[in-house]
């Protein structure tokens, strides 16, 4: 019943979104004089800058043609946008992308010797391969970020990959950074938060990276016998993944949650509920009843975990924490409280529908407030991807780009700390990083990076055309003066670094 109501609501909104777009399109077609108008609507520039990794050649014009609302709507329903064949081709060249977590372990993990643990040399070889597999995952992320028309979806994938960061390289988890993204993040990046939370919690990469696989209580005759609690993941889950650092959790909640999550293991399936390298071992699970955030969670085994995750996902503190973070990511380091409150309200009302929360954000007045335009500094990831997009390049291999990104201080799947790379843009404005940004711009513009196609250079004029009002006249003049270095000057300019 609720599902049907939701569907109706969604449909109404969808129609409301497309209709003005269609009307606008008709308007443009009927009055051709307006189409030749000089500079695009600043609201369109803002939407393209924030809902995508930045405009490529012709993007601003396309969005103007389709209309602002229709553009936002199309980005909110990425499933309807077809991936370009060239991108599919480039991705097909990365064999590990086709493998799920279990298969990756079989193909690249330590060889199973009859009844023996893999030796240290076998593990070293596994880690050799893990680096290559992780690089393929990084390449895939970059290729998609550059060429996929599902730009908002790509931005959200990046957002959640950091939010649910696996932290510094750790054992087999490193082999699975890509399968984690594909299996636990991508399918739910714009869906229900609870689904996303559950998928990340049960994924072998998270279980190993955040050590929940070690979190066990040994049983004897149905009773807890010997405890080996490892609350690292439970603490992270409360303080970062859901309620946030300022949440209502107490130390006792962390411990209760750790007990709830005991017996979550990595290995071959033993029951129907075990999938993708996850299994539940009842013999290593604490059977007692627990109290989490004031709510009693009956000792029912695996079901306790589901109940606990639901409690966390539906908690108002979680809504506030996530909505604020999303507003920081998409709008400003210091988002207005009323906007965050409205987003959190949508979150609560829709049962944590990320798509609806984003719709609230992108249709808010605050989102288009002139004071936020050009107020963010690009993260290195955004700088690299936006630069390649602005040049209109279609990379066949992104190894050099992934390496350049590492050099700029943001290697993919390698963020230390609990929450991956910072969402706040002030973090990316450190003096030592600035010259690296400029050097990268020069390397890219001069065609010094490999894998970007045969003619990987572009004129300053073409770049300026793609970027439109993002560039000030001063930058365009400086680029014109710089001759052959013009494109590099634009990509290195403060105007390009801001969005």
């Amino acid at each position: 019943m609720a599902g049907i109501v939701q569907f109706h609501r969604a449909f109404a909104r969808l129609a409301a979104g497309i209709l003005p777009g269609v009307l606008l399109f008709c308007g443009l077609a009927c009055v051709p004089a307006r189409a030749g108008d000089s500079r695009p609507d600043p609201r369109i520039v803002q939407a393209v800058n924030r809902l995508t990794y930045g405009p490529g050649p012709g993007t601003l014009k396309q969005v103007e043609d389709m209309g602002l609302d229709a553009f936002i709507e199309s980005q909110l329903i990425p499933e309807k946008l077809a991936e370009p064949p060239k991108l599919e081709e480039a991705l097909a060249a990365l064999p590990s992308l086709q493998m799920d977590t279990v298969r990756l372990f079989r193909e690249y993990g330590p060889p199973a010797e009859a009844g023996r643990e893999a030796g240290p040399e076998a593990m070293r070889r596994t880690f050799d391969r893990a680096d290559v597999v992780a690089l393929e995952a990084a390449k895939a992320r970059l290729l998609r970020a550059i060429a996929s028309p599902r730009q908002l979806s790509e931005l959200m994938t990046a957002f959640w990959c950091e939010h649910f960061s696996l932290g510094a390289k750790k054992g087999l988890a490193h082999l699975w950074v890509g399968s984690f993204e594909r299996e636990a993040i991508r399918p739910y990046a714009m869906g229900k938060f609870l689904d996303l939370l559950a998928a990340t919690a049960m994924h072998p990469a998270m279980l190993i990276a955040r050590e929940n696989w070690k979190n066990v209580v040994h049983r004897d005759a149905g009773k807890a016998e010997r405890e080996a609690l490892e609350p690292t993941y439970a603490a992270l889950l409360l303080a970062h993944h859901t309620l946030g650092p300022g949440g209502p959790q107490k130390p006792a909640d962390t411990l209760a949650l750790a007990r709830i999550l005991t017996g979550w293991r990595v290995g071959a399936a033993r029951a129907d509920s075990d999938t993708g390298g996850f299994y539940f071992d009842v013999e290593l699970h604490d059977p007692s009843d627990k109290v989490l955030l004031g709510q009693t969670v009956k000792g029912t085994g695996l079901g306790e975990g589901a109940a606990a995750l639901r409690i966390l996902a539906e908690h108002p503190a979680t809504a506030r924490n996530l909505c604020r973070k999303l507003a920081v990511y998409f709008l400003t380091d210091d988002p207005p409280a009323p906007l965050v409150a409205r987003m959190a309200e949508t979150f609560g009302r829709t049962g944590g529908e990320i798509r609806e929360v984003l719709r609230t954000l992108f249709t808010s007045e605050e989102f288009f407030d002139a004071k936020y335009r050009g107020g963010r500094i690009k993260s290195p990831l955004r700088q690299v991807v936006s630069a390649v997009r602005a040049m209109g390049l279609e990379p066949t291999d992104a190894a050099a780009l992934a390496g350049a990104l590492a050099g700029l201080g943001q290697p993919l799947f390698a963020a230390d700390g609990p929450e991956g790379y910072p969402m706040a843009s002030a973090q990316w404005q450190k003096p030592e990083a600035m010259p690296r940004r400029v050097s990268f711009a020069g390397d890219l513009a001069a065609g010094r990076l490999a894998g970007l196609g045969p003619a990987a250079t572009v004129t300053a004029q073409a770049l300026a055309g793609a970027l439109g009002p993002n560039l000030s006249p001063a930058v365009e003049q400086a680029a014109a003066k710089a001759g052959n270095d013009g494109a590099g000057v634009i990509l290195a300019s403060p105007d390009f670094l801001r969005y």
Binding site: A130, L135, A399, G403, G407, P431, D443, A450, A478
Partner: protein, 431 residues
């Protein structure tokens, strides 16, 4: 051979005078020795006769060490193009797999600028050893050169000890051991005789390129106009960068000090080879070539390092050509005091690093292949997380050559390389 020896010994002073005109100047040790031998006359000759009888050196066999000073980039000389991590670590300095370099096998490619060496690899007179350095050594030029010269990573502790080439000379032929050198080095300190062949005048070494100077100038104006936190961050960052860059450029200039500039070596190699061919009484030769401390603007298939490698390749191939038929009895080992960082730096260059590459050339070489283990480029394999790990001790390259080729008794290896324990199965580059 022995007749040539006699003639030379009798005319030693006149010979020295003649060499002076040719640019061959005796080193202080030889001058001292020459002075003494002219005074002692016959007695000396008799003494040497007895010495010759027990000298282990197989007369006419030569080992020439070419020190590629500054630390050449092993990942460019023998590029691991088949490793997917290579392009990741080297966004602007990796060699593309299709740039025309020779396939060395095992996933490696010879830098296309070393094309002068490609025929030697095909005719099995060139072998390469990746990930080669002195285990436990450092990555600052001064200490590393001292460690290279001493042939032990404990060089700092034994400052007074002679160089390993000096000790090798003594171990091979005692007091009458001869050596032909073209550069100064502590490596042959303690050698009883050496002859310095002055390289004469030649092309000097160009400075390292800095690719983005004009870009920084233009960006500097724009960020200046922008001001604010961003403008300030840029100004500070740029100033620090300029300072760091200036230091690196100065370091790079110094790192080539005392060595023959690579552009000069391109032509000098052959002259040195011709002289080596004439000097079959010299068991050892030494020359150092400068220009490999590529902290900035290294380039890839083309560029600064490619130019230095082309010159080096021409010089090495020229040396073999100059040796002529004597190349059948000569082994050339070319290596740096270390290698370079696996990751490129922010200046489009590479920083001093551990594992480098050794090239072994000459008639006696069982070449046409790569020797030694390759640790790979995975993060956990890199030394300190940044350098190619050392898989082959260069002494394990040199020691078998000294033993099997020059005739050094195995038990004397400890005299040449104090504290060195040879690997159980060192690369058998020389049969």
């Amino acid at each position: 051979m022995s007749r040539g020896d006699t003639v030379r010994r009798r005319d030693v002073l006149g010979w020295l005078a003649a060499l002076g005109a040719l640019g061959l100047v005796p080193g202080p040790a030889l001058a001292r020795k020459a002075g003494r031998s002219s005074g002692e006359g016959k007695g000396e000759a008799g003494g040497q006769g007895r010495e010759a009888a027990k000298a282990p050196w197989r007369t006419g066999r030569q080992l020439v060490v070419v020190l590629l000073q500054g630390g050449p980039d092993g990942l460019s000389v023998a590029a691991p193009v088949a490793d997917p991590l290579y392009a990741f670590l080297r966004p602007t300095t990796a060699l593309p797999a299709d740039c025309g370099g020779l396939d060395l096998g095992r996933g490696f490619m010879l830098h296309p600028a070393l094309s002068a060496l490609a025929p030697l690899f095909a005719s099995k007179q060139l072998a390469l050893v990746p990930a080669c350095a002195l285990p436990g050594q450092g990555t600052s030029h001064g200490p590393a050169l001292a460690q290279f010269a001493a042939g032990t990573p404990a060089a700092q502790a034994r400052r007074t000890a002679a160089g390993w080439l000096g000790r090798l000379a003594l171990a091979l032929a005692g007091e009458r051991s001869q050596m032909l050198v073209a550069s100064q080095s502590e490596a042959y300190d303690g050698a009883p005789h050496y002859t310095m062949m002055a390289p004469g005048r030649g092309e000097s070494l160009p400075g390292l390129p800095v690719e983005d100077q004009t870009l920084f100038a233009a960006a500097g104006r724009l960020y200046g106009e922008t001001g604010g936190a961003l403008g300030k961050a840029f100004a500070t960052g740029r100033e620090d960068r300029q300072e760091a860059l200036a230091k690196l450029l100065e370091e790079s200039r110094r790192a080539a000090g005392g060595a023959i500039p690579a552009p000069h070596f391109a032509a000098f190699g052959q002259r040195f080879g011709r002289e080596l061919a004439k000097r079959r009484d010299a068991a050892l030769g030494f020359v150092s070539v400068g220009g490999f401390d590529t902290h900035s603007g290294q380039g890839a298939a083309k560029g600064y390092l490619a130019d230095r490698l082309r010159e080096t390749g021409q010089g090495l191939a020229g040396m073999l050509a100059g040796l002529g038929s004597a190349a059948e009895d000569t082994v050339i080992v070319a290596l740096g005091e270390f290698g370079r960082s696996a990751r490129e730096n922010t200046f489009g260059g590479t920083d001093n690093g551990l594992g480098g590459v050794a090239l072994v050339l000459g008639g006696p070489v069982a070449g046409g292949r790569m020797y030694g283990e390759w640790p790979g480029l995975a993060g956990h394999r890199l030394a300190e997380g940044r350098d190619v790990a050392v898989a082959t001790d260069w002494r394990d390259v040199v020691a078998p050559i000294a033993v099997r080729h020059l005739g050094l008794p195995e038990k004397k290896l400890g005299d040449v390389f104090p504290g060195f324990t040879p690997a159980s199965s060192p690369p058998a580059i020389v049969g």
